[in-house]
Symmetry: C2
Subunit: 107 residues, 2 copies
């Protein structure tokens, strides 16, 4: 798997954003970050793998909770600094137990 040139360029400047969207309901579940290794692991394993900025290390989503994300499709945006993962979410995406991390509404 070759990483497209636009993404390569973006990765040379830093982390890229990764949006996880439920492949069936189309609900947006979370936003996280990737370095090149995380992106390659995601493509190869078909399990969403991010780069944790707080722990400064790779992070296979679900490796402790069992709430893996099975990757169905990956798209990337026009400037190559964001990817959109269409996934099947096992369990909840959010560590709070909510299905989506975007569960807070402005009041």
């Amino acid at each position: 798997m070759n990483i497209p040139a636009q993404i390569k360029e973006a990765l040379s400047k830093g982390l890229i954003s990764a949006i996880a969207q439920d492949a069936e309901s189309n609900e947006v579940l979370m936003l996280a970050w990737m370095n090149e290794e995380a992106l390659l692991k995601t493509i190869e394993s078909k399990r969403a793998t991010y780069f944790s900025r707080s722990r400064n290390s790779l992070w296979v989503k679900g490796e402790t909770s069992g709430h893996f994300q099975e990757v169905v499709e990956i798209k990337f945006d026009c400037d190559g600094d964001a990817v959109l993962l269409k996934i099947n979410q096992i369990g909840a995406a959010c560590h709070t137990g909510e299905k989506s991390c975007f569960h807070n509404e402005f009041k």
Copy 2:
């Protein structure tokens, strides 16, 4: 409109991410950035307003193209550093003319 404390804290450290999702089709259209002023303008005007990192200035989406984004709902994530805008997209979200910026597939 008071900005929730989690978002305030995230904004004190830098820009936050903003995902624009079509309110009807649920298609993810783009990812951009906001500072506090952009977020407040978005809430008040109900037109998506971002912070352009390349131009280092506020950017009302559609102000030159006419492709405004009418904001229907705003949610924010568990750590307050990303917002999800449910929008009605006038015209195309992407400057290429594609409906979504995420129109590139991995091959």
